[in-house]
């Protein structure tokens, strides 16, 4: 599949009283057409900020300080954040769904008003056509009785239903890329499964690509074709889903997989926690950020700066000096 989006060396910083937080510190990745990509990491690793930066939705004290976002041959970062070009991309060609369906809908507008707004703005539909399309979209995402429910307010909807509305909204202008930031984290397990399955079908239907931003390794194992693992503002491992789970090579990925309980594990399996805590992103040392928690570290790790992403296989990259293939505890 041809490439759709390429992000090169993206950097986003937040100036705070205690120092500069380098939330995203040189992130590069790409997304192909009609692909489902997973972006995995713990809270504070920069996974959400990297996506918000692509959309130029970073507000003060945050600032995108470097890099480029190439989308259909254009560098999105060359557009002004509030300029007409960026507004034509945002929502229309790259859309985003947020974690909290409770807070990301406007409580004083009806679902219909919020859904049709984008159709009128981006697709220049008239009110009647937009309403018709909104009902269609709501039906597609599995909201029954959409003709009636379109005039309801967000508080009439359950959490799962609100997230369905968000997905309908995200897909309303046939975007090329849908970014879903922890789309199902706040929801119940069976609702999560419903929504993820529906999202997978929908992006297929609309021939869009999907970026799933999550901390849940299970979700990406089930849905993503390729995965990026993030830690402390950088991508530490990337590869196909089968490579990442079948032959994880970065110590952080290996650690993550050992510390989550699996539904199908043998009785008496012990979890191996990753020692220590994620680092504070202010005043990071030049060496590998995972070094203090790493069980594979070698002398070189202390002397040399954090390495670049280096290939260990076709399409499988890690940011690490150590040879993790040998089992070592």
């Amino acid at each position: 599949m041809p490439e759709l989006l390429r992000v090169n060396d993206l950097k986003t910083q937040f100036k705070t009283e205690s120092g500069v937080v380098r939330a995203v510190d040189g992130v590069s990745y790409y997304i192909d057409e009609k692909e489902i990509v997973g972006l995995v990491g713990e809270s504070g690793c920069g996974k959400s900020v990297s996506q918000l930066s692509v959309m130029q939705l970073i507000s003060a004290p945050g600032k995108i300080t470097g890099g480029e976002v190439l989308f259909q041959g254009q560098n999105l970062l060359s557009y002004k954040a509030n300029g007409p070009e960026m507004r034509n991309v945002r929502g229309a060609r790259i859309a985003m769904i947020f974690q909290e369906p409770m807070t990301s809908l406007n409580p004083v507008l009806t679902i219909g008003q919020q859904l049709t707004e984008m159709l009128v703005l981006h697709l220049k539909m008239n009110d009647e056509a937009a309403r018709k399309r909104a009902v269609e979209l709501m039906t597609m995402v599995g909201i029954s009785g959409a003709e009636k429910r379109i005039d309801d307010y967000p508080h009439h909807f359950s959490g799962g239903m609100r997230q369905r509305v968000m997905i309908a909204m995200g897909l309303s202008c046939n975007p090329k890329i849908l970014i879903a930031d922890e789309p199902t984290t706040a929801l119940d397990v069976t609702t999560q499964a419903q929504l993820l399955e529906m999202m997978k079908d929908m992006v297929q239907h609309f021939a869009a690509s999907l970026v799933i931003v999550t901390h849940n390794l299970g979700v990406v194992a089930r849905y993503a074709q390729r995965i990026y693992i993030m830690y402390a503002g950088r991508i530490v491992e990337s590869g196909t889903t089968k490579d990442i789970f079948g032959h994880p090579r970065h110590p952080y990925t290996i650690g993550l997989l050992k510390c989550i309980p699996r539904l199908d594990e043998e009785e008496g399996t012990k979890l191996v926690p990753i020692v220590g805590l994620p680092p504070n992103l202010i005043n990071m040392p030049p060496t590998c950020a995972f070094l203090p928690r790493c069980s594979y570290k070698i002398d070189k790790c202390f002397k040399e700066p954090w390495p670049d992403l280096n290939p260990v296989d076709t399409n499988h990259f890690i940011r690490c000096y150590a040879d993790t293939r040998e089992k070592k505890q």
Binding site: T190, Q192, F245, P278
Partner: protein, 329 residues
Amino acid sequence: MNQVHDDVLLNVSDLKMYFPVTRGLLRRKVADVKAVDGVSFKLKKDETLGLVGESGCGKTTIGRCVLGLYRPTAGKVLFQEKDIAALPEKKLRDIRRSMALIFQDPYSSLDPRQSAGSIVGEPLKIHHMVFNKGEYREKVEQLFRIVGLDPGMSDRFPHEFSGGQRQRIGVARALACDPALIVCDEPISALDVSIQAQIINLLEELQDSVKGLSYLFIAHDLSVVRHISDRVAVMYLGHIMEICKSRVLYENPLHPYTRALLSAVPIADPFVEETRERIILKGEVPSPMNPPPGCAFHPRCFMAIPECSQAVPPLRTITEGHEVACIRV
């Protein structure tokens, strides 16, 4: 005393907890929320029973009834052979010494103005477990060490600790009075993935080292519950749908809801995911204010027959230790 019941710590029988819904100026009761509607289970000494289910299934309410924080509408909660549900408030306090609670949110469950040491030591004072200052200090230090915290940090305040450390403080507080039962209500769901394993392992190690410590482990995450529990009770809308050994839960789930719930939890392994049964339930969990007649699950069930809406199916023993509330099994 009967020999057979000797090792039963907690015996809950036909527990019902209804919350009245009132309307209008006179606060007239218009309905009941049947949070827990006829639940029976036993918890043995040294055992961990997992209560799992989606939001609103009544798992937290059960925990609170067990601790005597709610007066149940009906039913018995026998803890060490005494009925918690019928004891007067004064007597409850003595019994509460033998039980403790670990909360979900380590950020809001600790008093921000109290030092960590005094949080951990407060139960000792309340229950008159120590007789002088030296003994108190010694016991607090010991508790800090048990949960893996440096006793030197006991003068610090909660905001100076990380999430994982705060939850360790919560565990230390729970252990202060040498309880026989700890109710863990979503103890790890607010923590980061790499920290969760630390707390799970701590809870497991404690149970191995403290004799006669039982956990009632309440969580929505099936993989975590299965990992830590000896037996698991799957709940739906105030009822236990299935109760069995954790191993059996994954290998041989019988209730259609359990099967759907299991299939909704993705396993972090794309190779396993390819071969798994995928059951996507329709609709959402109904309101406990207006539960469906008969089996609470029948409107969403893929195995339902007309008889399912006639009567609430009782828990039936299928094999030794494996009970299911379904007429189709």
